[in-house]
Symmetry: C2
Subunit: 332 residues, 2 copies
Amino acid sequence: MKSDATMKPHDRMAAYLADDMDAVSALIRERMASKHAPRIPEVTAHLVEAGGKRLRPMLTLAAARMCGYDGPYHVHLAATVEFIHTATLLHDDVVDESAQRRGRPTANLLWDNQSSVLVGDYLFARSFQLMTEPGSMPVMRILSNAAATIAEGEVLQLTAAQNLATDEAVYLQVVRGKTAALFSAATEVGGVIADAPEGQVKALYDYGDALGIAFQIVDDLLDYQGDTGATGKNVGDDFRERKLTLPVIKAVAKADAEERAFWVRTIEKGKQEDGDLDHALMLLYKHDTLTATQRDACDWAEKAKAALAPLPDHELKDMLIDLADYVVSRIS
Amino acid sequence: MKSDATMKPHDRMAAYLADDMDAVSALIRERMASKHAPRIPEVTAHLVEAGGKRLRPMLTLAAARMCGYDGPYHVHLAATVEFIHTATLLHDDVVDESAQRRGRPTANLLWDNQSSVLVGDYLFARSFQLMTEPGSMPVMRILSNAAATIAEGEVLQLTAAQNLATDEAVYLQVVRGKTAALFSAATEVGGVIADAPEGQVKALYDYGDALGIAFQIVDDLLDYQGDTGATGKNVGDDFRERKLTLPVIKAVAKADAEERAFWVRTIEKGKQEDGDLDHALMLLYKHDTLTATQRDACDWAEKAKAALAPLPDHELKDMLIDLADYVVSRIS
C-alpha cells in the first residue's frame, strides 16, 4: 500500500487499492475467457488491456473500503462496472464508426462490426452474471438500472445530437445517461455492499453523479481544445460526427442569423467543407463558450467534493476529493 | 380458457394461457417504454408487434403453470425471455445486414444500425431489471447464464460459419448457444419459480434444449426448401450469407474433390456467381442431406417429448408434446 503525495490522485488511489485492483484484474481476465469462442477474449483483451485507467471499478473499491467493507464482493462489483463500461465502448465505436480509441485502432476496425456487437453483448451478459454473485438485491437493482439508463442516454444522444433544438437540459440528460449513470452506480454499490447508512450511500451516489458529469464535460471540451497525444482523439471529432456538445450548444444559443445558418448546415445537415472546423472553433472563441464550458465542469467537480461531506474522515475520502479536482485539471 | 383440439398446438396453448399471455404483453408494453427516448418504443414495437409467435415466453408460462405455480412472477420471467430474444434479433439483423424479418423490413433498414444496436442494449438491460424482480437467485443465474451462452454462440457462429472444417459437433454447439440456450432457460425458470422438484426442473431444461435444437434445424432446413410466403425469408439466404448450416455440412462431408472446390469457392471464399444456389441445391439433393437433416430434427423432437416423462400428467404437458411434433411438422 505505498502511496505518495507527489503522485497524481488517480495513481495514488490505485496504489492505495493495489491489492483490490489486482483482484479485479484477475477476475476480469478469468471472466472474459470463453471456452468456445476464442474471438471473445481477443477482442476484449484489445480493449481491456489498452491502458484504460479503470477509473470506474476503482470508484467502487474506494467507496466500499471507505465504508469499512471487508468482504470479497466489492471486487465482483468493480469487475461488473468495468464489463458494462467495456461493452458500452465496443458498441459506441460501432455506432460512431470510430477508428481510434485510446490511441489505438478500434475493435470494429481490427475485426469487424459484427465482433464488436456480439462481444459487447457477451460482456453485458457476463456483467449480469457477476452482479448476481454477491446475492444483494439492491446492488442488482442499482446496476441493472444503470445499464438501462446508459442505453437510454445513448439512444437519446442519437436523436438529440444533430438537432439544434438540443439545449443544455437535454445535454445534461444525455450525459447523465451515457456517462454519469455508471459513475454513480459504481460509487453507490460500493456503499451498499458495505452496508453503509442511507445518508452515506446517497452521498456516494451524488459524488459519482457529479464526477461523471464533470468528466464528460471535460471530455467534450477536450474534443475542441485537447492535443491528440493526450487524448488519443483528433480535435474536432465531435464536430465531424455532428455531435452537439456543450461548447457548441452554448455557441448556438448566442448565434446570430448567419452563425445559426452555419450550425444548421454543418451539424443538422452535415454538409461540411474544408475550413468549417476552423470557423466553428472561431465561433466558440468569439462567444467564449470554451471558458464557460470549463466553468461548468469545475462547478460539477465542486458539487462532487461537497457531496462527500456526510462521509467520515478517511484517506480514501481525501483521495476522492483530489480526484474530482484532477478530473477538471486536465483542462485548466 | 377456450381451447380446441382442431387448433394448432401453438394456438391451443396460447388460448389455454390467454390470461397469462395478456399479462406478459401488458408488461412488455410497459417496460419497453422510455420517458426520455421515444425512438426506443418505436423500434421495439416494430419488432415486438410484428406478429412473432411469442413461443419462448409461452414456454415459461406453460412450465410454471404445469408445475402448479400460482404467483405473479412467471409473467416477469416470460417478459424477460421475450426481451432477451428481441434484443438478440435486433443485433442479429445488424450482424447479418438483414433487410427482412418476419416478412417486414428490419429495424436496421427502417432506422439505422445505431438504433438497432442501442435499442437492443436497452432491451437487454430491461430484461436484467425484470429478472431481478422475483428476487430468486437461481432464476437470475439461469437467465444471465443463458444471455452469456447466446452471445458466445453467436460469436462462435461468426468464426465457424464460413469455415468448411465446421462439423456437426460445432454446428450443434452454435445451435445450442444461439437458439436452444434461451428455450431451455425459458422452460427451466418456469419450473424453478414454481419450486418444482429437481428432477422435474431437469426434465423441463432437457425439453427446452431439445426443442430449441429441433426448432433451429428446421429453420436452417427451411432456408433451403421453404417458400418465401411461409417463412418471410428467401430461399438460399444462408447460402448467400455463407452460413454453414446442417444441410451443407452434411453435403461437405460427402463431397468429392470437385464438389469440395465448389463449397470452398462459394462459402469459404464467398465468390458466388449466378447459378451457384441451384448448383448447391442440386448437391444437397444428390447427397440427400435435406432428408437427413429432417431426420435429425425429428430425432430432437422425439428427445424433447421423451424428456417430459418425469412430469406429472397435465393438459399443458400434452400440449408441449404436441408442440414438439408441430415444430418439425413444418418440414414433413
